[in-house]
């Protein structure tokens, strides 16, 4: 067993016009087995590109992704993916969405059924198994997406802003669920997010990325994910350490955003 290693990943997109965009430059990342890390950065810092490379959807210009001493060359069931939204199969019921992976692998139907029922319990959708997914709210749909990913029992779970489209309250609840799932399954999880609070709350380690070219700017070791297993989320998020780290990371990100977008301040009169 091992986690996943990104070894000197660089990615240069060549657009059809011939223009080149340096999305990632020399990114090294070593995610340990069972670790949950969050990746944060301003838009355009290449965090989704990095995740897509780890998932095997993109081939890096140079460098490689290695898992269990084997180089990743394409997508595979060992690396499960949870997308922001719209990745569920709307022509299937909740149950069938969750059973998709095991069914494609040809597992026995009875085993799959048991697994699906168990996962429906865990994500709190036991009464919704027979519903078509499009009748569910956004939060419930993301629970289905999590369950569908877990049903396949991947070694690594890659999350691309899985809670990004949810309202604030649902989002906090879902953060608790992600934490619970991590605790119970001890999967290796890489979480991409826009929310500083979410990144701090869920990550044992936080990777802050910077744009142009996309690169890792800073890393933080964080105690909050572990504490989240015993303390209440509100307590943690209100604690002085949390607030202090949050402000520090926020100003780091804000600094980068201002560099990109320009300052919000009124221009000096000429």
């Amino acid at each position: 067993m091992s986690g996943i290693v990104a070894d000197k990943i660089s990615m240069v997109f060549t657009l059809p016009s011939g223009e080149q965009v340096h999305a990632l430059n020399d990114v090294n990342l070593n995610v340990k087995d069972g670790e949950i890390i969050s990746v944060l950065g301003p838009s355009g810092c290449g965090k989704t590109t990095l995740l897509n490379i780890i998932a095997g959807f993109l081939k890096p210009t140079s460098g490689k992704i290695v898992r269990e001493n084997i180089e990743v060359t394409g997508p595979g069931p060992d690396r499960g993916m949870v997308f922001q939204q719209g990745a569920l199969f709307e022509w299937m019921t909740v149950e069938k969405n969750i059973a998709f992976g095991p069914k494609m692998a040809g597992r026995p139907a009875a085993d799959t059924k048991r697994k699906v029922d168990e996962l429906l319990q865990i994500v709190g959708l036991q009464d919704f198994g027979k519903k078509p997914v499009y009748q569910l709210s956004g939060g419930m749909q993301q629970r289905v997406a999590l369950a569908r990913c877990l049903a396949n029992d991947p070694e690594v779970i890659l999350m691309d802003e899985p809670l990004g489209a949810l309202d604030a309250l649902t989002r906090e609840k879902m953060q608790g669920l992600v934490l619970k799932l991590w605790k119970e399954t001890r999967k290796t999880i890489i979480l991409i997010t826009h929310s500083v609070e979410e990144a701090l709350f869920l990550g044992e380690r936080l990777i802050v990325m910077a744009p142009r070219p996309g690169r890792i700017l800073r890393e933080y070791e964080l105690p909050f994910a572990d504490r989240g297993l015993v303390e209440s989320p509100r307590q943690i998020k209100a604690s002085p350490e949390f607030v202090e780290t949050r402000e520090e990371v926020l100003s780091l990100i804000w600094g980068m955003e201002e560099e990109i977008m320009g300052s919000d301040k009124e221009p000096e009169p000429a």
């Binding site: 998932a55 095997g56 959807f57 394409g74 997508p75 595979g76 069931p77 690396r79 499960g80 993916m81 997308f83 719209g86 990745a87 569920l88 199969f89 709307e90 022509w91 998709f100 992976g101 494609m104 692998a105 078509p132 499009y134 569908r148 990913c149 396949n152 991947p154 890659l158």
Partner: protein, 289 residues
């Protein structure tokens, strides 16, 4: 997601003389399409007025049967058509053969067109090979092919079904191709990450995702083929609704011609309604990705 108004209650709401409760709560109605009710009362009124005008004109002897038959002559002809048929062929058989030709043509077109369209959406080679043919054939009205098809097949059943097959083939191909193009890449990525093979992705992700567009294609093909079959029968056939009115014209039987036109309209409408019903039944997830 659009909010559907509460189910209509009462006759006046059903007739569209009154707005339902939900619409009544709106202050802005002009410009809100969902606030426009069915106006069913006026629809019924239109039909009644037209029929009454026809009846009165018939009663007053204003109609010359060469141009437009009287209502009683038309009804008498209708009964005669049902009991005696037209030119030794039962009335239902004339209708049945036309419907059969459409269904056969559309289904054959779908059987070849859907896989072809899927292939064109999925493979550069397939797209390259078939694109010139599909893009060239697409703007040609099927009726323009009738002379060629008569030269090839004569005027038997094969000729008609082949014509309708061609008419639906390109519609179905294009529908299936655009169905593939509309698949969200995240769904495909998700399926690969869940371990699905290419074949599994084709059948479990791409095909169901393309179904709404394939079905819209089917509906279009049905409509086009219904129009085409009638026209083809006008040109060359001894059975079918189209041929019935063409032959009736030769005998100056205006009443049969008019009945034929009504039947063509009614069946076209029924096909459209039936397809919409099937669409809701078979593809409830349409537009909800």
């Amino acid at each position: 997601m659009s909010k559907h108004p509460a189910p209509p209650s009462g006759l006046s709401v059903w007739l569209g003389l009154k707005d339902n409760v939900f619409t009544q709560q709106k202050t802005v109605r002009f410009g809100d399409a969902s606030a426009v009710n069915s106006g069913r009362f006026y629809s019924i009124l239109t039909v009644v007025i037209l029929l009454a005008a026809w009846g009165i004109a018939s009663g007053l002897g204003l109609l010359q049967s060469f141009y437009w038959p009287s209502i009683d002559a038309t009804l008498a002809r209708l009964i005669k058509l049902f009991t005696e048929g037209f030119r030794n062929v039962a009335f239902w058989d004339h209708i049945g053969i036309s419907v059969f030709r459409v269904l056969a043509g559309v289904l054959l077109g779908a059987v070849i067109g859907v896989p072809l369209g899927l292939a064109m959406g999925l493979s550069s080679v397939a797209r390259g090979f078939f694109d010139p043919i599909v893009e060239f054939m697409r703007p040609i009205p099927p009726l323009a092919l009738i002379p060629l098809i008569i030269l090839w097949f004569g005027i038997d059943e094969t000729a008609k079904i082949f014509l309708l097959f061609l008419a639906s083939l390109f519609i179905m191909t294009i529908a299936a191709r655009s169905g593939v193009n509309s698949v969200k890449i995240t769904k495909v990525h998700a399926a690969y990450s869940l371990g699905a093979s290419r074949v599994q992705i084709l059948f479990h992700v791409i095909l169901p995702n393309a179904l709404p567009e394939i079905f819209t294609g089917l509906r279009t093909a049905m409509g086009v083929c219904w129009g085409t079959v009638v026209a083809a029968e006008l040109v060359a056939a001894d059975k079918g609704v189209g041929s019935m009115i063409m032959i009736a014209k030769n005998f100056l039987q205006t009443d049969t011609v008019v009945i034929g036109i009504f039947v063509i309209g009614l069946i076209g409408y029924t096909i459209e309604l039936g397809m919409r019903y099937l669409e809701r039944l078979l593809i409830p997830w349409q537009g909800k990705g």
